[in-house]
Amino acid sequence: MSRFNVRKVAVLGAGVMGAQIAAHLVNTKVPVVLFDLPAKEGPKSAIALKAIENLKKLKPAPLGVAEDAALITPANYEEHLALLGECDLVIEAIAERMDWKLDLYTKIAPHVAANAIVASNTSGLSITKLSAALPESIKPRFCGIHFFNPPRYMALVELISTPTTQPEVLDQLESFVTTFLGKSVVRANDTPNFIANRVGIAGMLGTIKEAENFGLSYDVVDDLTGKKLGRASSGTFRTADVVGLDTMAHVIKTLQDNLADDPFFPSYATPAVLDGLIKAGALGQKTGAGFYKKVGRDILRLDPAKKDYVPAGGKADAIVDRILKKPAAERLKLLRESTNPQAQFVWAILRNSFHYAAVHLEAIADTARDVDFAMRWGFGTKQGPFELWQDAGWQQVAAWVKEDIDAGKALSKAPLPAWVFDGRTGVHTPEGSWSPAKKAYVPASTLPVYARQLFPETVIGSGAVDALKSGTELFKNEEVRVWTLDGEVVIASITAKLHLISPTVTEGLLKAVEIAESGYQGLVVWSPDDVFSAGANLESLMPVFMKLGAKGIAPEEKKLQDAMLRIRYAQVPVVSAIRGLALGGGCELAIHSAKRVAAMESYVGLVEVGVGLVPGAGGLTYIARRAAEMASAGNANADILKFATDGFTSAAMAKVGTSAIESRKLGYLLDSDVIVAHKDELLYVALQQAKALFSAGYRPPVKKAFPVAGRNGIATIKAQLANMRDGGFISAHDFHISALIADVICGGDVDAGSLVTEEYLMAIERKHFCGLLEHPKSQERIMGMLQTGKPVRN
């Protein structure tokens, strides 16, 4: 066996996709060379250079931190083809022209390394036809690799083989893309637009048609086909605007050019309204107008009848809202039976999606699972079409769909395939998902890489066990489950809403530490959903506050601080497995752990200033301690303030990292912490880390006093704040809070270099936290946040 090591990747084509794929490779520490055509003037690699520069400005940010753009090597096909020899993977992402791609392949073929994989990021061209231009030596290592835009954030990557692709090539690529790029792979057949875009775009075309049939405006359709339907919040038309109407038309054209025999062919016609918009140059978001247009702060929608933009904001009828909240079986029945045109519309698009998916499954994918996953990961839907169908009652829905087909209401007269009616109750079963081609239920991939996903995403009906019901339960209260999967490491999962830290959560975490110390190798704080912890639960403290005021809060705050120290000084390593938000108290929990393992999409920060408070559970104490550690690492007499200033700024400005990489830059993750590309590998890696720490003879940190910047440091920070206040950048209350933060970080009104303990600093934290709780302006901020969810600026 020889492992596929990817030392370096070449991305060919510095367009929107190519550049962003390069950016994501850099995010995950894969060295990358970005190629484009030689520029006619200026530096030869100017096109790639410009694309790299542009990555820093693009929103949503393709890079974890903007300065990492410098890690992408710009190149051009004239001077740098030799660099291909160092690349183990070549991803081609140039414009969707068969002739251009074939030319390029001919040009690069002699330079490609002997064992490199060559893959095209085409969104619709035939991979097998592209393969034809390659020499025989490369063909076995050629395949399709289809990323979705924006590649950093969209989970899906479709891999497509050709008849000549060696099977292990796809296995190697799937393993690399999963662990190192953090993407979720679906294997697709080599059919036009592959799976997600085939089903997704056909669905959008169907939606446009049904919206016309039922006379619904775009804003109402988007409200109906967004979150309420378990789909991406941008709905249908806004999604089209974001994708770009020209891009959408291109994908539609691929359907039109290649699928003349498809029974749904007539439904692939470009809608007149789309054609009209494109001809008028209204290509969506990138040109400022499409189905919608933003004028100042107002969003306008196109009214095709008036051929003009009118105010948007239309919502679904309340009755439909209510129906959409019902369980699947009841929901579909009510939608179908309702006389409300919106309900009928929703039924129609769902019916079309079931119809389309069932008719095409055999051609486009191996199993129904692949279609459902492709729609979840590529289009952001909660369930794929087969899942919803199965959820709602397979045979009943099948009968309804058949009835509509027979009545001529569907997009095509093509009947549902025979297997639909073979008495089944669905396509997903514990033994696998239905494969019409194989006429069997096919289990999920057994590639070794998936052993790293202890709780992978699963489809309905697969019989997978919920993580929170797995393993051996060791303790449980209303907001924390303490359990173990392997009998070696304890897992604490916070189950409270947004995983807010209340006294109940604290109790559960302390219990977890106790259990872990009693006979396990370590403790991992992990939860199966997409948030680590959004902070301390302020509401849970309200009753005490109402009764006793801030005096009553101080003992509660002390308990939380003590819990943080208990975690920090536990006899076994505590590893925080971070994913999504880790704010305020959540951040404090993470930074007091022995180690952090963070998914790429982790957003860590101390945000208490937003509610008029200071971090009160050791966050500022951590910043002071880290400053002392960093200063003494260089030089015993180093300027502690210099190291404390960044931490001060992060806390005083409530900065939150926009990625795990940026969170590390803010100081909330350490260089020795681990960033995990795939969210579903997080628990596996965290458990491994805990065991490795234990095996290496883990001892908690030695408690010792450390120096602080003292009163001069406070004055120096306050001098900066005075400029901001008197320049009108911050309010007097901001100044007040920031000065209190400085007071904690610098250790209070003491001589520079004074030695302090964590407990001493936590007492100052507590004093200021409680003092601010009684400050009317902070109270305004807290009430504002609780009532509107938005920060109050006062």
Partner: protein
């Protein structure tokens, strides 16, 4: 010394380096003490007949005398400049008036008769030592009284306070800044800086990672880096205020942060005769005055009348004024309050265009005045500036 007597002090040599932009300019890797050595050597070259052993002392101004410009840069520079007999040196600091103060102190050594030949100058690399120094630290006591808060202020916000209190509009500031650039460019085109600037060779040393060799590149720079021909009112108007949310002070109407050095040689009449020197100007008077720190920019309003009084001159007798343009806001407040003739103020542009290497500026602008008076056959000239934490300084020179 038994023959000690009160005597006049004359400038017999005055020169400076070009001014580079800090951070990314041509002196970004040139040490300030190297700039100073180059300036001193250039000044020495202007007086070949002067005995290299005649120097009594060297006084050098610097605003943040630490790091690359620490360790008493004055002494180090005169040692490296290679005098025939060792010369002492002192580095002095009055922030932006450091260079001018160095000249005043050198002149005073001569005027009290304890010296006959002195070196004065200033050097600053804002590329290497930032404004505020490497380790800013404020005294907690500044927060005890409201009137002390200005000590905490950065220079930008003091300019905002001046703009507000002296009612200097954004438009007026931008127009003043454009004029500064235009005057500077015109003066450069006319070769007006040739007398005062000594070209300097800049070396860059970078590793050739492949061969392990050091790649040494040399270039000679002979003109200030700051003036921008593309400056326009529209461009200036687009810049956002940086020091106050609703302010008027921008990067475009503030002085540029810079690197540079200036050096002058001062001599007594006795030394002039003894060494056959040609005096360029007489040092007439100097005054420094304190003002509230939060409006430090108005310092010259207090210092100018004081310097005139010591000189026994009236304002209209001054033909050429180098008013350091820390900010357009404070420059205009000073010009309007003192009633200066705008055509006599910074005829070759000021710090907004040319740059402002803090402690070097006084010496650099003294070189400007001394040569401009001679070139235009004028009599009296003045160098004046505001000073951080609340001061003004002014020095008067007379062409001889």
């Amino acid at each position: 010394m038994s023959n000690k007597q009160v005597q006049d002090a004359y400038i017999v040599a005055a020169t400076r380096t070009p001014i580079g932009k800090s951070g990314r300019g041509y002196f970004k890797n040139t040490r300030p003490d190297d700039l100073l050595v180059a300036a001193i050597k250039s000044a020495m070259a202007q007086v070949p007949s002067l005995d290299r052993g005649a120097f009594e002392d060297a006084i050098i101004g610097c605003s943040f005398p630490e790091g690359e410009q620490g360790m008493n840069m004055a002494r180090i520079a005169v040692q490296l400049a290679g005098f025939t007999k060792p010369v002492g040196g002192v580095t002095v600091n009055r922030f932006c008036a450091s260079g001018l103060t160095a000249i005043q102190m050198a002149a005073d050594r001569i005027r009290v008769g304890e010296a006959d030949v002195m070196i004065a100058g200033g050097a600053e690399s804002m590329s290497m030592v930032p404004m505020g120094g490497n380790k800013p630290s404020f005294n907690p006591a500044i927060f005890e009284r409201n009137e002390d808060i200005g000590i905490a202020y950065g220079m930008g916000i003091t300019a905002e306070k001046v703009a507000e209190q002296w009612k200097v509009s954004r438009e007026a500031q931008d127009a003043f800044s454009l004029e500064s650039h235009q005057r500077a460019l015109k003066a450069i085109a006319a070769g007006e800086f040739k007398d005062e600037i000594t070209p300097i060779e800049v070396l860059s040393r970078t590793p050739d990672l492949a061969t392990g060799e050091t790649i040494v590149k040399r270039r000679t720079v002979d003109i200030d880096e700051g003036p921008r021909p593309d400056t326009s009112l529209e461009g200036l108007a687009k810049l956002r205020p940086v020091f106050a949310a609703k302010g008027s002070v921008t990067a475009g109407n503030s002085s540029q942060t810079s690197d540079g050095a200036g050096a002058l040689i001062l001599a007594s009449e006795r030394a002039i005769k003894q060494y056959d020197l040609k005096p360029l100007a007489r040092f007439v008077s100097f005054a420094a005055r304190g003002v509230p720190p939060e409006i430090m920019g108005i310092g010259p309003i207090e210092a100018i009348p004081a310097a005139l009084k010591y000189a026994g001159l009236t304002q209209d007798q001054i033909d050429w004024i180098e008013l350091n343009e820390a900010f357009a806001a404070q420059s205009l407040a000073v010009i309007n309050s003192v009633g200066l003739d705008p055509s006599k103020v910074n005829p070759m542009g000021g710090a907004i265009a040319l740059g402002h290497p803090l402690g070097a500026t006084g010496a650099i602008r003294a070189a400007t005045v001394v040569h401009a008076l001679r070139r235009h056959n004028l009599k009296y000239g003045m160098v004046t500036m505001c000073v951080g934490t609340g001061q003004g300084a002014a020095g008067i020179f007379e062409r001889v």
